[in-house]
C-alpha cells in the first residue's frame, strides 16, 4: 500500500508536467480566437476556437452562464485560463487594449453621457452604420433617457463596431428589436463576418442561430459544449 501511494504521487507529477506546455502556448494561425480552460468562480473550464470570418451561435437556458462566458473572454471578471488572439496571449496585452480588439456588447448596454453623441468619439465616421441601422443623422442629439430598449441595443452595436474589433461578442443583440431591425442587424453583422470579423453571438432563437451561425455552442449549468446543429446534419 505504501509503494502504491508513492506511485500515484509520481503519476500525478508526470501528468502535470505533460499538461503544462499545452496550457500555456498560443499558436499563431487559423483560429483567430483561442480559448482554453477559461474558468471563473461560476463558469466551468471552457475551451473553444473561433476563426476569422466565422460566427458561432451560443445557446442555452437563462442563467446557464452564456453572459459569464462572454464577460470572461472580454476579461471583465476575474478569470483563469488561456485566451489568445492571433497567437498573442491575452496576458501580454493591457486590459483596455484587449477590449478594443475583442469587443463586447452586453444585453443591457450602459450609458455614461446624457445624449447619444457623447458616446461616440467620432459621429461623422459612424454615419454609415447609423443609417444602416435605421437612425437619422440628427440622432446624435437624442437624449439617452428617451431611447427605447431596441434603439439602445442598436446604438451600442454601432458604438462597439466603431472601435474596430477583430472579434465581437454579442449578448442577445436583437432581443428587443422589431423584425425589420432584426433583419438589418443580422445583415450588417453578416457583411462584417464576410469581411473577416469573428463573432460569438448569444441567441435564444433557434431560427436566428440557423440564419447567422456556422457553428453552435451550448452552455448548460456553467458548462460549454459544442453541438452539431440539425441544420448542419441535414445538409448533404
Amino acid at each position: 500500500m505504501y509503494s502504491g501511494l508513492k506511485e500515484m504521487a509520481v503519476d500525478a507529477a508526470a501528468t502535470m508536467e505533460a499538461n503544462e506546455p499545452v496550457l500555456t502556448t498560443c499558436h499563431a494561425g487559423a483560429p483567430i480566437l483561442q480559448v482554453r480552460d477559461l474558468r471563473t468562480k461560476l463558469l466551468k473550464p471552457a475551451s473553444l476556437s473561433l476563426s476569422a470570418g466565422e460566427c458561432i451561435a451560443i445557446r442555452g437556458p437563462s442563467g446557464a452562464g452564456k453572459t459569464l462566458l462572454l464577460r470572461a473572454i472580454a476579461d471583465l471578471d476575474p478569470n483563469e485560463g488561456v485566451v489568445c488572439l492571433d497567437g498573442r496571449d491575452r496576458s501580454t496585452l493591457a486590459g483596455p487594449e484587449w477590449r478594443r480588439l475583442v469587443g463586447y456588447v452586453p444585453a443591457e448596454p450602459g450609458w455614461w453621457g446624457d445624449t447619444v453623441g457623447e458616446h461616440f468619439s467620432e459621429w461623422t465616421g459612424a454615419l454609415a452604420l447609423v443609417r444602416d441601422l435605421g437612425f437619422p443623422k440628427d440622432a446624435k442629439a437624442w437624449p439617452i433617457s428617451r431611447l427605447s430598449t431596441g434603439e439602445r441595443l442598436r446604438l451600442a452595436l454601432i458604438r462597439a463596431l466603431m472601435v474596430g474589433p477583430k472579434v465581437l461578442l454579442l449578448d442577445e443583440p436583437t432581443a428587443a428589436l422589431d423584425p425589420a431591425s432584426v433583419a438589418a442587424v443580422e445583415s450588417l453583422i453578416a457583411a462584417r463576418v464576410r469581411a473577416g470579423l469573428a463573432v460569438l453571438w448569444v441567441t435564444h432563437d433557434a431560427e436566428q442561430a440557423k440564419r447567422i451561425a456556422h457553428r453552435l455552442l451550448v452552455v448548460r449549468d456553467g458548462q460549454v459544449r459544442e453541438e452539431v446543429p440539425e441544420w448542419l446534419v441535414t445538409q448533404p
Binding site: 487594449e97 478594443r100 450602459g110 451600442a156
Partner: protein, 269 residues
C-alpha cells in the same frame, strides 16, 4: 487669562433644568424620547468630564509621547466612525484601513503645518494647541472621507453598467471611473464649502464663540476661526481625495476591471 467667568456646579445644575423640561414635553406629547434624552444627557456629562480630566493631565504633562498617543486614539475613533457610516464597505481591512490611513495622513499633516507656521506654541507639540486643532480638523475630515467613500461605493454599484460600458470600449479604469470619482469628491467637499460660505452669517462657529466667551477679543477670535476654516478645508480636501482615489484603486484592478466583489453586501437598515 483671568478674564473668563468660571462656572460653578450649581450654575450647571440650574441650566440642566432645560433638559428636564424637554423630557417633560416628551412625556406630555407621548413622544417617548424622554428616556433616550436623559441617557444622552448623562452620557454627554460623563464623557465630557472624562475628556476634561484627560486633557488636564495631557496639558500638565506636555509630553510628545502622550500627546501622540492621544492623537492616535482620536484618529482611530474617527476611522471607526467613518467606516460605520458606509452603506457598502470595502471588504476586509480596506474598510477601516483606507479611511483611517487617509484621515491620519491629511489631518496630521495639516495640524503640524499649522503648529509650525501659524500658531507656533513652545514646544510645537504642546497638547493645549495640538489636540484641539487636530480634533476640529479630524471631525470635518471624518465627515468628508465618510461621504466621499459612501458616494463612491454606492455610485459604482448603481452605475456599474455605465462604468463597464466605457471599459468594454477600451477605456482605462481611471477614465471609466472618472464621472463617479468626480461625484464622490464633490459630495465630500460640499459640507466644507457650504460651512465656509455660511460661517459668520448663519452660524457663529463654536470655537470662535468659545474664545469670545473665554475673554479673547472678537477680532482675534475671528482670525483663529479663519485659520481653522482653511485648515479644515485643506485637511478634508486632502483626506477625501486620497480616500476616494484609494477606493477607485481598490475597486478596480490591474486588468482594468471593475471589482465590486471587493465590496461587502448592503448593510441592513
Amino acid at each position: 487669562m483671568a478674564s473668563y467667568t468660571a462656572l460653578t456646579y450649581w450654575e450647571l445644575a440650574a441650566a440642566s433644568v432645560f433638559v428636564f423640561i424637554d423630557a417633560g414635553l416628551s412625556v406630555i406629547f407621548a413622544l417617548n424620547v424622554h428616556r433616550g434624552l436623559l441617557v444622552a444627557a448623562i452620557r454627554m456629562v460623563v464623557q465630557l468630564t472624562l475628556v476634561g480630566l484627560v486633557l488636564t493631565t495631557l496639558f500638565s504633562l506636555v509630553s510628545p509621547l502622550w500627546t501622540g498617543i492621544a492623537a492616535f486614539a482620536m484618529v482611530l475613533f474617527a476611522g471607526h466612525e467613518a467606516a460605520q457610516r458606509q452603506e457598502r464597505r470595502l471588504a476586509g481591512w480596506w474598510s477601516y484601513g483606507l479611511g483611517t490611513g487617509c484621515m491620519m495622513m491629511s489631518s496630521v499633516l495639516v495640524t503640524v503645518f499649522a503648529l509650525l507656521t501659524a500658531v507656533r506654541p513652545n514646544p510645537w507639540y504642546d497638547p493645549r494647541y495640538a489636540i484641539p486643532l487636530l480634533g476640529m480638523i479630524l471631525g470635518n475630515c471624518m465627515t468628508g472621507v465618510g461621504l466621499g467613500l459612501n458616494t463612491l461605493t454606492t455610485s459604482l454599484v448603481n452605475r456599474r453598467a455605465s462604468v463597464e460600458a466605457q471599459l468594454m470600449l477600451g477605456a482605462t479604469r481611471q477614465v471609466a471611473a472618472a464621472p463617479v470619482t468626480r461625484e464622490a469628491l464633490r459630495s465630500a467637499l460640499m459640507p466644507t464649502i457650504n460651512s465656509m460660505a455660511a460661517t459668520g452669517v448663519v452660524s457663529l462657529p463654536g470655537m470662535m464663540t468659545g474664545q469670545i466667551l473665554g475673554g479673547v477679543p472678537p477680532a482675534e477670535a475671528v482670525k483663529y476661526q479663519i485659520l481653522v476654516m482653511f485648515l479644515i478645508a485643506g485637511g478634508t480636501g486632502l483626506g477625501a481625495v486620497t480616500a476616494v482615489l484609494g477606493g477607485v484603486y481598490r475597486l478596480t484592478d490591474g486588468r482594468h476591471r471593475l471589482r465590486l466583489d471587493r465590496l461587502t453586501a448592503l448593510k441592513a437598515a
